[in-house]
């Protein structure tokens, strides 16, 4: 989280406090799940067949493992992992003394460094994905519920601004695909509305679980834009905007995608 990228977001939010409301009406919102084949939907629905559940199980074991110089497990502070119900539904959010909103993976790493006195896990590491997956799973079927925290408003607006900004050699914006052309075919892929409710997600193409940041990175690479570094403020701003746009939609994580 460099000063440079913080400045970029600040600049973005100055021009975007009046960003147009683009989100679809609630009745028209649709999970990417509905664009998949029945066999992939069945794979996501079945706890035994859903490959993402392997990460959830690993995460559950990690939840109870003592870690770091503090020799504390997550359970030592929080109790059973089931106490995490509803938490993933309200992230990204402000947390503790952190001066900027963080996403759930970043919040987990804050617990690593501040409370367990251990090193932060790298983005997309098996450990961070597993802990994120098990915490998110506790919110399965709960509605996305961004907190009514006025401090978040400028960051959501910055995300909306990024969402509508053309970038890359192909000069596309997220909104041109995910608002204007959702449901249409981009070659073989049906363009989804880009709701974040299935993340972290098991992608057959990745043969792995992956975070929402990884998904956003893939779209940026497709646009031939320079992807932001993992953890950049721009991703958190986009994640906040996507959450505000998906408010009320039920969490499906871990989702499955082709």
């Amino acid at each position: 989280m460099s000063l440079g990228s913080a400045g970029h977001v600040l600049l973005g939010l100055l021009v975007s406090l009046t960003a147009p409301a683009l989100a679809q009406a609630p009745g028209e919102r649709r999970s990417g799940y509905h664009d998949m084949s029945p066999s992939l939907q069945a794979m996501q629905d079945d706890e035994i067949a859903n490959p993402g559940m392997l990460w959830v199980l690993d995460g559950e074991a990690m939840w109870n493992r003592k870690q770091g110089a503090a020799a504390k497990s997550c359970a030592d502070c929080h109790g059973a992992v089931s106490t995490m119900a509803g938490v993933a539904a309200r992230y990204p959010a402000f947390s503790g003394a952190n001066p900027r909103p963080v996403d759930l993976a970043q919040r987990i790493n804050l617990c690593r460094t501040d409370n367990q006195k251990a090193d932060a896990y790298p983005y997309e590491s098996k450990e961070l994905l597993s802990l994120t997956a098990v915490v998110t799973r506790q919110s399965k079927d709960l509605p996305i519920a961004p907190p009514a925290d006025p401090r978040l408003a400028p960051f959501v607006a910055a995300g909306a601004d990024l969402f509508t900004q053309r970038q890359g050699q192909l000069n596309l914006s997220c909104a041109q695909c995910h608002e204007d052309n959702a449901g249409r075919k981009l070659a073989a892929a049906t363009i989804p509305q880009a709701h974040p409710i299935g993340y972290p997600i098991y992608r057959l193409e990745w043969q792995s679980l992956g975070s929402l940041q990884r998904r956003l990175r893939n779209c940026l690479i497709g646009m031939r834009a320079e992807p932001y570094a993992y953890g950049a403020d721009e991703y958190v701003a986009l994640e906040l905007y996507l959450a505000s746009r998906a408010r009320g939609m039920p969490i499906e994580a871990p989702g499955v995608r082709p």
Binding site: Q165, L172, I221, E226
Partner: protein
Amino acid sequence: MLLGAIVAALLATPALAADPRRPYVVNGDEIKASLTGRAGDPARGRAIVANRQVGLCLLCHTGPIPEERFQGDLAPDLGGAGGRWTEGQLRLRVVDAERFNPTTIMPPYFRTEKLARVAKAFADKPILSAEQIEDVVAYLATLKD
């Protein structure tokens, strides 16, 4: 001897022709002159349009290229484009479609300015070279119906 020298000189020109900043003149809604000063090759143009890493056209468009499955459906069918538009209009459309429609989703294939955060590997390069644009225009012009 002289002829040989001329042929050699001609063969050496592609370096010049590949300059991405090769200027062009817009007349109305057309670029009338070839970007390279030569006519393109429709067969090569068809291959560029069909190629998902080079032309990318079929990500969005359908077109009369039956061997390519999974064509996009968020842009008009390319079939008949050469009947609907002059060669000059087709050239401007591919070079910089925003000249026709400022909110278009169609990428500007021969523009390197007014773009944000282009990935390093593609910085200051147009999506297609002048030669490739001419090949694509020559192909599109054959699509009369």
